[in-house]
Symmetry: C2
Subunit: 423 residues, 2 copies
């Protein structure tokens, strides 16, 4: 590779809000998105919430001349909603479906049925290996009382681990998607700290678009204004994150967002704003490396965020076990009732009522059984995430310079870890 080597990447990311029957003007928006993508010619287009495979197939046909490579990531019952279009050949792809993704009985939220996932594409560009990831984490339905917080933190960790373990030989790592996390949220910090990914919005010197880089803004006519009541400017939950390794330097030359309307005319393309980034990869000047692997100076924020995540997951675990216990009691009660009803039906005076109540009672026991099993599985998965966090915390402790302050913090972490392992 020549010292003057440089690679430019034009990236497009959008949560398309493509829910069949529910999202307004879906067909028209998908058509206009296709026109726009054809006109602009990005290197890589990463889309979320393309829930209908027909929409993907429509875009695929339409974009074929400009983006010969495409892939739709299938998972869960509805699908992950993730897809990609690429100007360059896709060498490899795979995906990881998050083991925790909400609750099946929260049907009105629907996330559980989607099979939220992270998709990976491997591309070879100018002799470099690019690992591009696209993802969509569990939605946040209430910021004040977020029952999915532990799941979202666990998803952020699984995402970070998937990137960490699959990108070890990549020269450039790119992550785009709707994280459903604000920039300072625990999951977002955990992801950035563990992977070393940089936020295009924070890094670029040339940003054009919505105020504070928000990707859900009140100006967008499709946005539920009540959801943004506490955020007059909007919220930033969609990201372009990147890093380069092995003596390469990556920077975000320009970053643009749409601002609540179609980039050319008409209504917006989605209820989210699109992100358009131009990244530049070149040889790193030896005196400064902008993507350090977590050296001693970086350890402290990593340790703090790991401990925070550990605590959150631990609380989620306690909650999951509580629900499993409640379900256990209901099963016990239901079984006692069943025996009583059988006795009444056999000889008592209220035979008919007993027979009538028998079937709903069986339903109750079965329902509680399913509920119990689900929360047992939830507990197992949270336990797994906690163990991984704890291990990384332990490793961080071993390698960092032990300042008195951090030593105390780590000791606390270790105690928590030991306690957890014993449980």
């Amino acid at each position: 590779m020549k010292p003057t080597f440089s690679l430019r990447l034009k990236i497009f990311n959008l949560n398309c809000w493509g829910i069949p029957f529910l999202s307004k003007h879906r067909a028209d928006r998908v058509k206009r998105l296709g026109d726009f993508l054809n006109m602009e010619s990005f290197d890589l287009v990463l889309l979320e919430e393309v829930w209908s495979e027909q929409d993907f197939q429509y875009l695929r046909q339409k974009l074929l001349p400009t983006y010969p490579a495409a892939h739709y990531f299938r998972s869960g019952i509805i699908g992950s909603g993730l897809c990609v279009f690429s100007k360059h050949p896709i060498q490899e792809f795979t995906q990881h479906v998050f083991t925790l993704n909400g609750y099946p009985y929260m049907v009105h939220h629907g996330d559980w049925f989607c099979g939220k996932a992270v998709g990976l594409l491997v591309l070879h560009l100018s002799g470099l290996v690019l690992n591009a990831y696209v993802t969509h984490l569990h939605a946040e339905y209430s910021r004040q009382k977020d029952i999915y917080l532990a799941h979202r933190v666990a998803q952020a960790w699984e995402l970070a681990q998937f990137i960490h373990h699959t990108s070890k030989k990549a020269d450039v790592v790119l992550l785009c998607g709707d994280l459903n996390l604000h920039p300072k949220d625990l999951g977002c910090r955990l992801l950035k700290e563990w992977t070393g990914l940089h936020d295009a919005f924070l890094e670029t010197r040339d940003f054009k678009g919505s105020e504070e880089g928000c990707t859900m803004v009140p100006e967008n006519c499709y946005v539920n204004q009540r959801e943004l009541e506490q955020f007059p400017v909007g919220i930033r939950i969609d990201y372009v994150l990147y890093k380069a390794v092995s003596g390469l330097y990556i920077s975000c030359k320009t970053l643009k967002t749409t601002t609540g309307s179609d980039p050319h005319s008409g209504t917006p393309l989605s209820d989210h704003e699109a992100l358009m980034a131009t990244l530049c990869v070149r040889h790193s000047p030896p005196q400064h490396n902008p993507s350090p692997t977590h050296g001693p100076a970086e350890r402290s924020p990593l340790i703090n965020v790991l401990r925070e995540a550990w605590t959150e997951v631990d609380q989620g675990l306690a909650q999951a076990r509580w629900w499993a216990t409640i379900a256990g009691y209901v099963i016990g009660l239901g079984l006692i009732l069943l025996v009583l009803l059988c006795a009444l039906a056999a000889g008592g005076g209220i035979k008919e009522i007993a027979i009538l109540l028998w079937t709903p009672n069986v339903g109750l026991v079965l329902g509680a059984g399913a509920f119990y099993l689900f929360h047992m599985q939830e507990a197992k998965s949270l336990c797994r995430v906690r163990a991984e966090l704890q291990h990384v915390l332990g490793r961080a402790r071993e390698t960092q310079d032990l300042s008195p302050e951090s030593e105390q913090a780590l000791l606390l972490g270790q105690q928590e870890g030991d306690r957890a392992e014993e449980q």
Copy 2:
């Protein structure tokens, strides 16, 4: 690294048959396993079917002086049953839970409840990075009519992909576990072809143990003899597989199995036989590389096995869609019946019977709904595996030397691929 560098690894693998309340002499066997492992001092111990976390904790305490590092892989409702003990520090670990793993309504088989998975450990030994994987695939309950075949092939593919994507920077890759696959089974060939892993039993010149390296033998008193009726010598379904990359050479110096009895005395340690391998890693002589990445000469078997897997997964997909359709009809029928029953209850003469039948009918509709959703999810997951296989098939086609014979085979493959993508 010196040219005379060499690293010896002593590996132990066993499916422990540790089902609480069901497996015979469990406590005694776990105790004797602990004694044996302490006495022998392996570098790495990889165990499957340690279903009880108490058993793991017992072993952990017992083995602590000899194997200071340990990890239990939690997943699903019951757990993956996988755990490891290591003489060397574990740098990193993570796991991948298979997205397809049998059917929840096949309660008597139980695999679905386990959350079968692959666990990954990263170890740093003498400056080398060792990625060690431990796994346990879905059991084969009937070889003649195997309803889980598509799932097992999909699991083998997910396992191969997980190893492929997470081991790119590893110097040595090791996979141990109970694959529930005979050496010539499709899943086993797919795994070996795609990862380039070598089979210790086939590679070693110094083998001691059961005939043909079998890991379930009729001499073992815990083995269900009926299951081995067609295999008088036994079956080989547990493996030690390995490869080395980047100018290193790995070989299996010795391989031993137990032979249906305790290695020292008494009843066997499990219904499976233990595998004990001594691997040797050293500098590869430049003139021969025993672990080629799939070059042109290797393409043809890879392509054949990919096509075979594609066909199998495609058949599984058709089956999944068929079940989903049947469930759809049952839901429709159930809903019509519900309306009829409501009408009868409102005015008809058989009011009581109508009321009695109403609740089981609701149960039927709900049950069929769950069945429908499950098989929709199964179809999505199989579709995903098929798309990945198809893509790899396409890439293999592009890079291989196109002989007339293989060209025809590939054309067929491509046609299948195109057909699949259109569906």
